[in-house]
Symmetry: C2
Subunit: 228 residues, 2 copies
């Protein structure tokens, strides 16, 4: 009976049922109509699983089951008082308390020294171009919608996405500049590591050479535990 607040799709279901009772397929149709598939991941398997779980926890209830013709039965759900409260608490928490997430690109950045620096420069440059293009497309489509009279409130999550995208483009520009002009500290050691890997030296030998050549870049590890 613990708080199963994993999948935000469950929160979206509560919000929709808070407006009016409906059946699962209608939920997904409504979310798509309102262009929320971009901010809330909709998957039929997950949707029906999530509805089942909300039902088990008493946050929603069956209002009616309709059968028209020989089609599959539609079960219409409604929100309960407990569900309303859960919706308010969950949404309030999501808006007010940051949660640590793990974007794949963050993982990739932290593992990037496994590839040679020049390859990484090329890869990041490709990403920069893609994100730059996405930013322009996003801004244009946003502009068209606003011009047509759509209130900003209805696409505020899209504004947020564009803000994050712009920040990533800036980060990439700065990082690429530092990589290209050699300003990024650690770059020399990184480059040397991959030079040595291209030889037939053993791992231990490579590390001995690196530690010798880049003493000052490893000195900090002595008191590394002082940082979090």
């Amino acid at each position: 009976m613990a708080a199963v607040r994993r999948n935000p799709l469950a929160l979206a279901v509560l919000v929709l049922l808070h407006e009016e009772p409906m059946h699962p397929y209608q939920m997904s149709a409504t979310l798509k109509e309102r262009r929320k598939e971009h901010s809330v991941k909709i998957n039929y398997g997950s949707l029906y699983a999530v509805v089942e779980s909300l039902l088990n926890r008493g946050l929603i209830e069956v209002r009616e089951t309709v059968r028209s013709g020989n089609r599959p039965e539609r079960t219409v759900y409604g929100i309960t008082a407990a569900g309303r409260q859960e919706m308010i608490e969950w949404l309030s928490r999501l808006l007010s308390e940051p949660v640590k997430e793990f974007p794949q690109f963050e993982a990739a950045l932290s593992l990037m020294p496994a590839l040679p620096p020049d390859e990484v420069i090329e890869l990041l440059d490709r990403r920069w171009a893609a994100q730059q293009a996405a930013l322009e497309v996003g801004r244009k489509s946003m502009g068209r919608a606003i011009d047509a009279g759509m209130p900003r409130l209805f696409a505020i999550e899209h504004e947020y996405e564009l803000a994050m995208l712009a920040a990533e483009v800036d980060f990439l520009s700065a990082l690429l500049a530092d990589l290209r002009d050699g300003t990024l500290s650690g770059l020399a050691g990184w480059r040397r590591l991959h030079e040595l890997r291209a030889t037939d030296l053993s791992n231990d030998e490579i590390w001995a050479i690196l530690i010798d050549e880049f003493k000052e870049e490893f000195a900090w590890t002595e008191h590394a535990d002082e940082f979090d």
Copy 2:
């Protein structure tokens, strides 16, 4: 046999084994030592599952199984040629091709009209304060590490995280300003909706009133399908 490139922890395993053979527990210890738990989510259950899956796909192999005393057996794994290739391809792709992700806050923003505007202002203000504080703490700890001589390369993912955090703080500042001075389009209708919900009017009656009072804010829906 399809490409199971879901969990970036598997990529981290490949990168570690690319450096030297080790057993799963040592992988998690090494990642923690290098402060990568922040960018790659480490969970024992997932780690052993992921290792098993890499083994089944021939990307890693068993090098030896050691038993010391009555402790559980340690199985030492090494990377295969196929694993090296997979590592290079996967990491290259993650660095160069953006993938759509679903941050919880984006979902929350898109659902926020379910709460009354004044409550949302307070909640977002709390988030702003928390992120602002996190940004300062993060920048300080980064500064200390750099001062101690740590090369930026080793914490580049942290720099990225701080850049994203700063962008979120800016976004929140701007949004809060627009909410507070009433500049955000759609705000009036949002406020009215929650006023009407506090009465005992039915949903249909509420919508009739809103559509009447805010005709111009709904006009755009006519050609909403022109935007993506």
